[in-house]
C-alpha cells in the first residue's frame, strides 16, 4: 500500500510541478520575452509586439513598499527612467497588486503618484489580475526586466547590488539596471544578466 501511495504521490507532485511551471514559467535570458497585452493607467492598451525595435524595461512596482519608496524618494529610479526614455527606451511600470492588497491603485492614482514622485515612465500597466507578473515570474517590487530591440529578454533581477531598504546604500551599490542599459547601448553582452531581485513580495491575488 505504501508503495502505491508513494507512486500516487510522486505522480501527483510531478503533475503539480508541470502545471505550476506552466502557470509560472520563468522566462529565460536570451530567449524571446513572453508576449503580453496590458491596460495602461491612461486607459489605453499596450502590446509588447508593437514595441519591437525598441528596448523595453519592465519595472514591477508597489508605491507602498519600503524598497520601492527607497528608490523613488531618493530619486534613483525616476532619474534612471528619465535617462532611459530620453535615450528612446520604453520604460513600463507594472503594478500587479490585486484589488484590496498593498500597492493596488486605479489609473488616476497611478498617474498622480508618478507626478508627485517626479517619475516619468513611458506608461504604467495595471496588471491587477497578475497575469503579466506571473508570465514574467515577477516576485518582488522592484523587480526589473529588460527586453532588447529584437524581443529577447536580456536582463532580469534587482535594481542594484545591495538588498536593503536604506537610502544610504544606493550610492554604494552597483546599479545593475544602469549597467545593463549601458552595455546594451554599447552593443555589448550584458555581464550580469540575471541577478537577485530584492524587495517586498508582489501582492498577487493568490
Amino acid at each position: 500500500m505504501r508503495a502505491i501511495q508513494h507512486l500516487l504521490r510522486n505522480t501527483l507532485l510531478l503533475f503539480l510541478t508541470l502545471t505550476a511551471s506552466l502557470a509560472f514559467a520563468e522566462p529565460d535570458i536570451d530567449k524571446p520575452a513572453p508576449a503580453f497585452r496590458g491596460k495602461t493607467a491612461d486607459g489605453k492598451s499596450i502590446d509588447l509586439a508593437s514595441l519591437k525595435g525598441k528596448t523595453v524595461v519592465l519595472e514591477w512596482t508597489n508605491h507602498e513598499c519600503p524598497f520601492v519608496r527607497k528608490h523613488y524618494e531618493s530619486g534613483n529610479i525616476p532619474q534612471i527612467q528619465k535617462q532611459a526614455t530620453k535615450d528612446g527606451i520604453v520604460w513600463l511600470q507594472v503594478i500587479s497588486s490585486a484589488p484590496g492588497k498593498e500597492g493596488f491603485v486605479d489609473g488616476a492614482t497611478a498617474a498622480k503618484l508618478n507626478s508627485e514622485r517626479g517619475s516619468a515612465p513611458t506608461a504604467t500597466i495595471l496588471d491587477s489580475d497578475g497575469s503579466i507578473g506571473k508570465l514574467y515570474g515577477a516576485k518582488t517590487s522592484p523587480h526589473l526586466f529588460i527586453i532588447d530591440a529584437s524581443g529577447l529578454l536580456v536582463y532580469k533581477g534587482g535594481i542594484d547590488s545591495i538588498p536593503s531598504a536604506d537610502k544610504d546604500d544606493i550610492a554604494k551599490a552597483e546599479n545593475y539596471v544602469k549597467s545593463a542599459l549601458n552595455e546594451l547601448s554599447a552593443g555589448k553582452k550584458i555581464s550580469k544578466a540575471s541577478t537577485k531581485a530584492y524587495g517586498c513580495a508582489v501582492k498577487y491575488a493568490s
Binding site: 505504501r2 508503495a3 508513494h6 519600503p66 531581485a197 498577487y204
Partner: protein
C-alpha cells in the same frame, strides 16, 4: 531598563543559592552593579515595534577573561507576520546584527535556526513566525578586568512582513559583570539553550549532490534512515538562486538512502559553487512528528552524459521497455544460450506432438522464468526493506549460492553428456505422462534459464535494473518481470508458432551430437564457478564443491549401470546414490551458517604491481592531490568484467599508458558483498559491475565514465593517451 536584568534573571532561574560563597558573590556583583549602573549602560535590553519585540540575551550572567559566550537576539513576532532567514527566498531581507563590543572582543556570524517555508501565490519565502532567537558567539578578551563590566551593544535591523513589509531597526544593550575565571557565571537565559537546540547539526551520513541541468538531486541517508517513518523532507538553500525556492521537492527511497529532487534556480550549483543549506526531515513518531535539521555543504558530482542513460532519467515505461529488450537479448548471451538451445531441441524431439502440447510446454517454460524472476524480485524487495545494499547478480556474492549453482551446472553437463537422464520424458512410458513430465521439465528449464542468466548482463539491461533497484516494490517487480518476459519470449513464440517450428532443422542424429556438445559450456560454467568460489572463500569450500561433484558423478554412474538390473539392485543403487549426494549437501548446510555474504573476501584482493585495491579514502586523497586515477569496479563472477580486463585493461599498451601518465589504477572487487563499492557504484547511478571511471588530473576534474564493453582504444582515448 537600566538595571541589569541578568542578576535578577539568575536569581529567578536558580532560586536555591548553593553555597554561602555564591551568595557572597551575588552580593558583590549587586554592589558593583549598583555603583556603576548609573553611568555604564545606556541601551535597554529590549525594544519593541508594533510587530516585533526584540530582546538581547546571553548564555551566562557574568563573563570572565577569555570566556566564550552565546548572545541571542530574541524576536517575538505578532501573528501572521514574519522576519527572514539568511536566504529570505523570493523576496524579503535577512535580519542583520551589528555588534559594538569592548576592544579585543570578537563576535562570530549569526547561527540561524531552521526557518519555515512561507508561500503566498507564486512567492516562497524562508522565514520565522512567532518567535526566533538568532545566536552569535562572542569571545571576551583575556585582558578583560574582573570587577568591571563588559558592555554589549547591537544594532539589529530586520524586515517584518505580512501583506506589507516594514524595515525596522532597534538598538539593544546588555552590560555583563566581569568576574575572575573560576567564579560562578550563572546559567544565562534559557532561551539560548532552546535556540541552540533548534540549530541544524552535521549530517550523520555523507550527502552527495548530483546536478544534471534539469534537476539537482541530493542523495543522503543510511541504514538508520527508514523511509517508512519519514513524513516530509525539505531542503532550504542558504544562497539565492541555487534552487527554485518554490518548486515542489520530491523524494524517493533509493538503494542507499533517500534522493531528494530539486529544481535548479537562476544561479544553479557548479563545481565551484557548492550547494549549502539546511535539510530537514520530519519523522513520524509515536509522540507525533519530530523535525531533524542537518547542515548541508556539498559540491555536485559532475554528471557525465554516460551516467544519464543509466539511471536517473528513466521512467517506468521506458525501464520496462528496456528490460524487455534486454531480456530478449539475454537469450543470445553465452550464459543462457545453451539452456535455450537445449529447450529448443526438446521441442524438436517432440515435434510430432499436438500443437496444444507444444504450447503448454512454451507456457510452462515462460511460467518457470517468470516465477523465478518474481522470486528474485521478492528477495530484492525484502533485502531492500532491511536496507542491505544489493545489485544485479548479488546472489553470486553468496558462496553457498555459487556452490549450489556450480553443482547444478555440473549435473546439467552430466545430463547433456547422456550420463544421467533428467525427467521422465524420454522413457516413453506413455504420451500422457511424457507431456506432463515435459511440462514440469519445461518449467524447470525456465527456472534454470533464469538462474544462469543472472551473472550475465545484456545491453539495455543495466539501465533498467539500476532504475528498478531504486524503486518501490511494485515498479521494481514490473521491471524484473518485463526482463523475465523478454527472456521467455523467444521460446514461447517458437512453441506457439508452428511455422517457426517448421523452420527449425529436421530432427536427427545431429541433435544428439549437439546436445552432447552443449554439455561443455555447462562444464565450463561449473569450472568457472569453482574458481569464483575459490576467489571468494579461499580453499575452504573447494573440497566440499569438488567432493559434491564427485558424489554426483558417482551417483549418476550407479543409477546408470543399474538401470536394467533387478528392482533390488536398483533400490540398493538408489540408496547408495542418495547417501553419496547427501554427504556434501549436509556439508553445505553445516558451513552455510557461518558463510553468509562475503566471508573471506580479503583474499581475493591482493596488491598487484600495477593496481591498488579500491579504498574511498585513498581515492579522495588522490583526488585532493590532483592525481589522475583510473577506477575499475569488478567482480569475479562478472563475465564482461573479466573479458574487459583481459582484452583491454591488463594489456601492455594500456598498462604502459597508465604508467606514463602517472595514473593510479584502483580496482574494487565486488565478488563478495562490499558496501563501499556498492556506494561508489551508486554515486554513478549504477547497481552492478562493471564500472570504469577515469578521473583526469586536477582536483576538480570531472570524472569520465567509460562504456561497459572496453577495447584498448576506448581506454587509451579516455585517458588521453591517444
Amino acid at each position: 531598563m537600566t538595571k541589569p536584568r541578568a542578576i535578577k534573571g539568575r536569581g529567578a532561574a536558580n532560586p536555591h543559592a548553593r553555597s554561602l560563597l555564591n551568595g557572597a558573590k551575588e552580593l558583590l556583583w549587586t554592589s558593583i552593579l549598583l555603583v556603576s549602573s548609573e553611568s555604564a549602560q545606556a541601551l535597554p535590553d529590549t525594544a519593541s515595534t508594533d510587530q516585533v519585540q526584540a530582546r538581547l540575551i546571553a548564555s551566562i550572567d557574568a563573563v570572565y577573561p577569555g570566556a566564550k559566550l552565546q548572545l541571542g537576539v530574541n524576536q517575538r513576532i505578532i501573528p501572521n507576520w514574519h522576519t527572514y532567514w539568511k536566504n529570505p527566498g523570493d523576496s524579503g531581507l535577512p535580519t542583520t546584527i551589528q555588534w559594538r563590543l569592548p576592544g579585543g572582543a570578537t563576535a562570530g556570524e549569526i547561527a540561524w535556526p531552521v526557518p519555515s517555508r512561507i508561500t503566498s501565490g507564486p512567492i516562497t519565502n524562508y522565514a520565522y513566525s512567532n518567535e526566533v532567537t538568532l545566536l552569535t558567539s562572542v569571545t571576551v578578551p583575556n585582558t578583560a578586568t574582573p570587577g568591571s563590566f563588559f558592555p554589549i551593544e547591537a544594532t539589529v535591523k530586520w524586515l517584518v512582513c505580512e501583506q506589507s513589509c516594514i524595515p525596522q531597526t532597534v538598538e539593544l544593550g546588555l552590560n555583563l559583570p566581569i568576574v575572575s575565571d573560576g567564579q560562578t557565571v550563572g546559567t544565562g537565559n534559557p532561551l539560548i539553550a532552546k535556540a541552540q537546540a533548534s540549530l541544524p547539526v552535521d549530517t550523520p551520513w555523507p550527502i552527495t549532490v548530483r546536478d544534471n541541468h534539469n534537476t539537482t538531486a541530493l542523495q543522503f541517508g543510511g541504514p538508520d534512515l527508514s523511509s517508512s517513518k519519514i513524513a516530509e523532507i525539505s531542503f532550504f538553500p542558504d544562497t539565492w538562486g541555487r534552487i527554485n525556492h518554490g518548486a515542489p521537492q520530491t523524494w524517493r527511497p533509493t538503494e542507499n538512502g533517500i534522493e531528494l529532487t530539486l529544481q535548479p534556480g537562476e544561479a544553479p550549483v557548479t563545481a565551484k559553487q557548492a550547494l549549502t543549506g539546511v535539510l530537514t526531515i520530519m519523522e513520524d513518531t509515536d509522540e507525533g512528528p519530530i523535525r531533524h535539521a542537518f547542515e548541508v555543504a556539498a559540491a555536485p558530482v559532475s554528471a557525465h552524459p554516460a551516467e544519464k542513460v543509466d539511471g536517473e532519467v528513466l521512467n517506468l515505461p521506458s525501464a520496462i521497455g528496456l528490460a524487455l529488450l534486454g531480456g530478449l537479448i539475454l537469450n543470445l548471451m553465452p550464459c543462457v544460450f545453451p539452456v535455450l538451445s537445449l529447450k529448443a531441441l526438446h521441442l524438436l524431439r517432440q515435434a510430432g506432438q499436438s500443437k496444444s502440447a507444444a504450447r503448454l510446454q512454451g507456457l510452462a517454460y515462460a511460467l518457470g522464468v517468470l516465477v523465478s524472476f518474481a522470486i528474485l524480485g521478492g528477495i530484492l524487495v525484502i533485502m531492500k526493506s532491511t536496507r542491505s545494499a544489493l545489485g544485479w547478480g548479488f546472489q553470486f556474492q553468496s558462496p553457498v549460492f555459487v556452490l549450489l549453482a556450480a553443482n547444478l551446472m555440473f549435473v546439467m553437463g552430466l545430463s547433456l553428456s547422456g550420463i544421467i537422464k533428467l525427467g521422465g520424458s524420454y522413457t516413453g512410458i506413455g504420451n500422457d505422462l511424457a507431456t506432463r513430465g515435459g511440462m514440469i521439465g519445461s518449467f524447470f528449464t525456465g527456472v534454470l534459464a533464469s538462474v544462469v542468466a543472472a551473472p550475465c548482463t545484456a545491453p539495455f539491461m543495466a539501465a533498467a535494473v539500476t532504475y528498478a533497484l531504486a524503486q518501490p516494490p511494485i515498479p521494481l517487480l514490473s521491471v524484473l518481470l518485463a526482463l523475465g518476459s523478454g527472456l521467455a519470449l523467444p521460446f514461447l513464440a517458437l512453441s506457439f508458432c508452428p511455422a517457426m517450428q517448421r523452420r527449425l532443422p529436421k530432427p536427427g542424429v545431429w541433435m544428439d551430437t549437439l546436445k552432447q556438445a552443449l554439455a561443455f559450456p555447462m562444464y565450463a560454467t561449473a569450472a568457472w564457478l569453482t574458481w569464483v568460489l575459490a576467489e571468494q572463500t579461499g580453499s575452504t569450500y573447494l573440497p566440499l564443491l569438488l567432493g559434491g561433484m564427485l558424489a554426483l558423478a558417482f551417483a549418476a554412474w550407479l543409477m546408470q549401470i543399474t538401470r536394467t538390473s533387478s528392482l533390488a539392485y536398483r533400490r540398493i543403487a538408489t540408496t547408495l546414490a542418495a547417501l553419496t549426494i547427501s554427504t556434501p549437501i549436509a556439508g553445505v548446510f553445516l558451513v552455510a551458517d557461518n558463510a553468509g555474504f562475503g566471508s573471506g573476501q580479503a583474499q581475493s584482493i591482493e596488491k598487484a604491481a600495477n593496481w591498488e585495491p579500491f579504498d574511498p579514502d585513498r581515492l579522495k586523497s588522490l583526488r585532493e592531490k590532483g592525481q589522475p586515477v583510473f577506477l575499475n569496479l569488478t567482480a569475479d563472477w562478472c563475465i564482461s568484467c573479466l573479458v574487459n580486463e583481459r582484452v583491454a585493461l591488463h594489456v601492455d599498451s594500456v598498462q604502459d599508458a597508465f604508467r606514463k601518465s602517472g595514473l593510479v589504477y584502483l580496482k574494487g572487487d565486488w565478488t563478495s558483498h562490499d558496501p563501499l563499492i556498492t556506494e561508489k557504484l551508486a554515486d554513478f547511478g549504477r547497481s552492478g559491475v562493471p564500472l570504469y571511471v577515469h578521473y583526469p588530473a586536477g582536483k576538480n576534474s570531472a570524472p569520465i565514465v567509460l562504456p561497459q564493453i572496453l577495447t584498448p582504444q576506448t581506454v587509451l582515448s579516455a585517458i588521453g593517451a591517444e
